[in-house]
Symmetry: C2
Subunit: 562 residues, 2 copies
Amino acid sequence: MENNKYICKAFNASKKIYIEGKQHKIKVGMRQVKLTDTVIEGKRISNGSINIYDTSGFFTDSNVEIDIKKGLPRLRESWHKDDDNFDTLSSFTSKYSNEQLEDKSLKEFRFPIINMPKRAKKGKEITQMALAKKGIITPEMEYVAIRENLSNDYSKTYITPEFVREEVANGRAVIPCNPNHPEAEPMIIGNKFLVKINTNIGNSALGSDIEKEVEKSVWSSRWGGDTLMDLSTGKHIHQTREWIIRNCPVPMGSVPIYQALEKVNGIAENLTWDMYKDTLIEQCEQGVDYFTIHAGLLKKHIPMVDKRLTGIVSRGGSIMAKWMKENNQENFLYTHFDDICDILSQYDVAVSIGDGLRPGSIHDANDDAQFGELETMGMLCKKAWQHNVQVLIEGPGHVPLHKIKANMEKEITECHNAPFYTLGPLTTDIAPGYDHITSAIGAAMIGWLGTAMLCYVTPKEHLGLPNKEDVRNGIMAYKIAAHAADIAKNHPSAMERDNALSKARFEFRWLDQFNLSIDPERAMEYYGVEKIKETPFCTMCGPNFCAMRISREVSNKGKITE
Amino acid sequence: MENNKYICKAFNASKKIYIEGKQHKIKVGMRQVKLTDTVIEGKRISNGSINIYDTSGFFTDSNVEIDIKKGLPRLRESWHKDDDNFDTLSSFTSKYSNEQLEDKSLKEFRFPIINMPKRAKKGKEITQMALAKKGIITPEMEYVAIRENLSNDYSKTYITPEFVREEVANGRAVIPCNPNHPEAEPMIIGNKFLVKINTNIGNSALGSDIEKEVEKSVWSSRWGGDTLMDLSTGKHIHQTREWIIRNCPVPMGSVPIYQALEKVNGIAENLTWDMYKDTLIEQCEQGVDYFTIHAGLLKKHIPMVDKRLTGIVSRGGSIMAKWMKENNQENFLYTHFDDICDILSQYDVAVSIGDGLRPGSIHDANDDAQFGELETMGMLCKKAWQHNVQVLIEGPGHVPLHKIKANMEKEITECHNAPFYTLGPLTTDIAPGYDHITSAIGAAMIGWLGTAMLCYVTPKEHLGLPNKEDVRNGIMAYKIAAHAADIAKNHPSAMERDNALSKARFEFRWLDQFNLSIDPERAMEYYGVEKIKETPFCTMCGPNFCAMRISREVSNKGKITE
């Protein structure tokens, strides 16, 4: 594999800075954008710099050399070095992992370095939730407090390390941080915090390969994805995942049933608890930070689907429905939910309870099937919390604007304030090719109403696998939706960047505008790279019709010069 | 000029159909999409066809040959042939129009055919509002009733010709239809009707030319723009406009102050009422259907702008502010508002009262300046109605999600239910290059809350003049926002298309999915044109992981075959 294409250079006029913890020996990375001066009638006024929440990790630190074959620095490993909570195992627990390791034909696909897995010592409760309940502020909790505030000064914010601890203890927020993925920077998912976005990547039987998936994952973090789900269903799932995790600065999620289904050659009815369990452990020990598990879909819900226009559109949901029907048994993810939580609690892997019955069309939104499953999900949520497993609740799907609020309200009631994690929702069905937009509309609204994480949708949704440019467009649509929600929710650090950009815009500091924008390269490309000098107008209006220029003449603010 | 590139062929599997009026001799054009059959286990079930609201006019009627140099057929001319409401003038009233006609150097830019203008006979009240108040259901009113319902059967709808008449009489809806633009198909703007979208085109001093503008305007209608504003500020404004209007199947708007400013070489303080008046008449006689007029911005509002981050961002607003300041006089558009209405009422040109103080950043949203101007706009609205001039009220701009509702409510209260016509609003400032998305989010929300028309924003907003592809992306984002709002508002004809597309999706009728989508060409391109055969899965999930395929197996609906 070539290295250079994965190394994303830092953004223009930006440098990586690190803010130190006060309680723990941690350094929280963020991006600092240096602004140019305002020059009014020859007088120079500094605009200082702006800190920006940054998901790109060490990839944009010019002082760190990244070798994709070695993986990212193992940031969090040192935080727990003297910790007596974990054992480092001498072999993998999963039978499948060991088989993959021993299979010589896989050598060329394998990640070059093997790290032995960590697992909770027997009898130790090691999840962030368990520790939070005991009143412990972990390094991860302090990290996210600083990260959310873009500062370690808590004087103007409600988001303190202690507040983070409380939210995690109560299940209202989740910090996905499997100790086997120490490359990931801690982040928090909860409705009092910045709205996060997840990106999906992964190959299917019909396309893509390991190299392309790693490339997409690296760029996903660089562009602003807060978590990354690997939904691979094609060949070499195990190896693809390893490459991605070792180079992934954000928490990673997966849907273990996809790999389990591959192991039984796509025949859903042949799935068993034992091989699913082995798959869970395999992925826990690789470092997946959260699992989507479709445990809320029960036999009794399946007939409710008959009234639908588009049946079951969740892959995991359809697999489990098929399994239940063919075996005439209750969903084994439901009957084994305690066993699942036992495993997850040993690796602090969060469970994202999947909505197998999310609506796949406007017609099916908010129906009995969907809300019936949601009630079961709420029950499972409480069960997971008893094991101190952190919980996310997955949500729709396709929902028209006027039915979005009911989704959020019902989730809060049934699922006891566990963070909601929705796919969109898409607000109309008629726009294949533009579903990043149909869904960004729903996502912004549900984010404002309280959804903690938004699963992105790319322009290729319903049509095919996204390429790198589709990933970019999906991320940008969702960064916008999340940020619009943050502003509406009055997150303490949301507005600074908007105000700085708007001030730059009114003062014709074009470079500052680009550097502060969510996709500087795109903005510059559209403006016309050759024109990047500080001109007092753009081609949209031309010189005579620039409202901002005329407005400045009318005001008493003085003429912008340089 | 080449002809062929303007002729947009009909959409795949679609034909133009015409539904006849019951009260008037009119034929309402729309697009009919023929669907393929569902085949379940060999049994063939017809899906019939779906009618779709169509803004492309005769351009997509394969039976009509369009010559761009002759313009579109003059559809509405015959409706008023025996009408004793209008005089056909023997010469243009505007001095400038006559000068342009006599200037031999302009020959090559001129539209080849000259149509003499119509004007109300002295003492005749000819606007749709005047007629509606008298209880007359005009052909235009019946036309829009059929168009909104996609049918002339009113048994399942509240939108009847009489309902249209009432809404127009009360000022709650506007039918822009200057008799000098008989090429335009009637459409209605009001909050009980489908949410409409406007597209802006126009050259600036720095780019574009007549040919490109005509091309953009034709494609704008083909892609779904409901009205079109020509915001040209560069050379040959008069000629560009004529070419566009003669080939424009949708109502056209303009901002006359732009052309007036060009006439005084860009020096705002040199603007006079007389030359502005001549410009109004020039444009009325060319066939502009509505004018944006910034009459609500008064001297007293200007100091309110000082607290802002981004001052005045409306071009018209900044021009008038500059004029007031330099001349130390009240806004002449305000002091001459009765004179303006006198002119407009003779050509049934609607006034779109411009919001010169719309906020240009999230920081400035809902401030005293913005809402102060809105109050004046409400007063002017009543004044226009006294002249039976139809009124739209323009709105913001940049507004965060949580402040959108207050805008709609205040508009309703202050402006007496006149249709609101907003630019976005943009819900964050940080995404130049993606402002079609930041604003589609706000547009969907404000459309749902009652805004009647949404002015599109392209990805080039804040950066440069849009090209044809930008126009397409802007339109699609706004078609989505408007349609999402229509569904949420329960418009009687909104959901049929979503349901038909979703049914096609669940039955793997790929071609029907594409044909029913807002941009069939884009959807097909993303799916992969070479694969367009009825395969039971797409590359997104591959065959084993297709939820819809598995879901169908679980259900008792039978296997899709063919």
